[in-house]
Structures are given as structure tokens and as C-alpha cells.
């Protein structure tokens, strides 16, 4: 899912202006949100998957090309956030939902 695109617009008043107008500050950075589910047959195997994802969260963030399943490519994207669902689901398999966010910084790292 792609985030809102367009100008960051703030009121003139917020910047110390004396009128009711607004000011554009430039194009906002693009976020790509990926929602999915890690699946494994054992608890340990699920942690292997988690750890592999977490190893990609580095400081400073590295830029790379993000490719979705429909073969759309997004260049200079940085992996900035990984959030799991409220619990590990333990049914036939072990699984956990996640949300990962990639950002195209205006000033790439």
C-alpha cells in the first residue's frame, strides 16, 4: 500500500504568518506499507524468520530496491519499521501478522 502523496501543506499562522492562508513545504516522502504473515511449523523456525527480518533494520537505514509481487519496483527505499500483530497464532502452524514500512527519503541515507 502506498502512502499519501503530495505536498506537505501547513497554515501560514503555524509558521508565524498573519493570515489564514497556507504554505507548501514540498513533496512528502513516500511510504510503502507491506502487510503479511510469517509462517513456520515450529516456534524456533518462526524466530528464524523474525530474526532475518530484524537484521534488515539497520542504522543508518540502507537504501535498496523494493519489488512487489506484481513486479513493480520502487527504487531507493529504506526499511524503517516492522510491527507485529498482537500475538503469535498457534494453530496448525505458528504464524504472526506483521506490518513493514519502507520509506523513500527525500535525502537518501
Amino acid at each position: 500500500m502506498m502512502s499519501k502523496r503530495g505536498q506537505l501543506v501547513v497554515s501560514s499562522f503555524a509558521l508565524g504568518g498573519g493570515d489564514a492562508g497556507s504554505v507548501w513545504l514540498g513533496l512528502v516522502e513516500t511510504d510503502i506499507t507491506v502487510r503479511g504473515r510469517l509462517q513456520a511449523t515450529t516456534e524456533a523456525a518462526l524466530w528464524v524468520l523474525r530474526d532475518a527480518v530484524l537484521e534488515e533494520l539497520i542504522d543508518p537505514p540502507a537504501a535498496g530496491t523494493l519489488v512487489d509481487l506484481n513486479e513493480r519496483s520502487w527504487s531507493t527505499m529504506s526499511f524503517v519499521s516492522y510491527v507485529e500483530g498482537d500475538r503469535t497464532d498457534r494453530g496448525r502452524v505458528r504464524s504472526v501478522a506483521y506490518t513493514a514500512i519502507f520509506r523513500k527519503f527525500n535525502t537518501p541515507p
Binding site: 497464532d89 494453530g91 496448525r92 501478522a97
Partner: protein
């Protein structure tokens, strides 16, 4: 391993230390409390389904033979035990048991008079073990 089941006219039904008389049927059902279903980015169909939370419920239906103001009451916990056999004999006789908690006691009317319907939820010992145990009973009472 338990299974969905319906026991008709079980001769012996116990809940904790009490024996329940006049039981005409016991049903044990399984259902999903939580279903995980995921679709992919490629199309409309579900590609992953799992049931990480499920519930085993039991419903005991008994003829109410006399006035009865006593238990069970919602919240009561105990071992629900009953015996089934295909022909009322000891051959193939099974003992079904589960720790269960009463969630409702109702008294609907029916063609045979007033009945007592007791709903229970089976409890697993650790969340992994199946809460229903079925074993060969032989001549056990």
C-alpha cells in the same frame, strides 16, 4: 483425540461429584473462536487459513423429572464424564471425559415436558492438549 459427537440416552453422566439423571442426549461440538485467513497480492482467493483459537462445547439435555432448584450453575467447574456404547452393552463401550465449566442452564419446554439444557465449555489442561478424552471403558461404571 476427541471428535464431534452425539450421545443418545447415556446411562451414566457425572459432573464433578454429582450424577445427572434423565439425560437424553449429550452433544460435543467444536468451533473456531479465531480464524486467520490471508489473501495474497496476486488475486482474490484465500491462500492461508489457520485456526489458532478453538472451542469445544458440550450440551447436556435431560428430562426434568422432579422439582430441582439445585446446581449446576454458570461458572461451576468439574469433570464431565459419560459413557457411550453402540448397543447399550459393554461391547465397544467408550468413556468420554473432559474438564468443563458450565456456561448456561436453561429449562425449555418440550413434547415430553420440561427439560434441562446445560451448556459447558471444555477446558484444556495446558492449551495444547485436547480437552476431550475418549477411552475404552469396558465395564467401568
Amino acid at each position: 483425540m476427541g471428535a464431534e459427537m452425539l450421545a443418545m440416552n447415556p446411562r451414566v453422566v457425572k459432573f464433578g461429584t454429582a450424577s445427572w439423571e434423565g439425560v437424553t442426549s449429550i452433544s460435543v461440538d467444536r468451533g473456531a473462536d479465531k480464524v486467520v485467513a490471508e489473501v495474497s497480492d496476486l488475486g482474490p482467493h484465500v491462500v492461508f487459513v489457520d485456526v489458532p483459537e478453538q472451542r469445544v462445547t458440550a450440551r447436556v439435555t435431560a428430562d426434568l423429572l422432579t422439582d430441582d432448584l439445585g446446581p449446576p450453575r454458570p461458572g461451576d467447574s468439574g469433570a464431565l464424564v459419560f459413557f457411550t456404547s453402540p448397543a447399550g452393552t459393554d461391547g465397544g463401550r467408550k468413556k468420554v471425559s473432559m474438564t468443563a465449566v458450565v456456561t448456561a442452564v436453561r429449562h425449555p419446554g418440550g413434547p415430553r415436558g420440561l427439560a434441562r439444557v446445560i451448556d459447558l465449555i471444555a477446558v484444556s489442561s495446558d492449551g495444547v492438549a485436547d480437552p476431550v478424552t475418549i477411552a475404552d471403558a469396558g465395564g467401568e461404571l
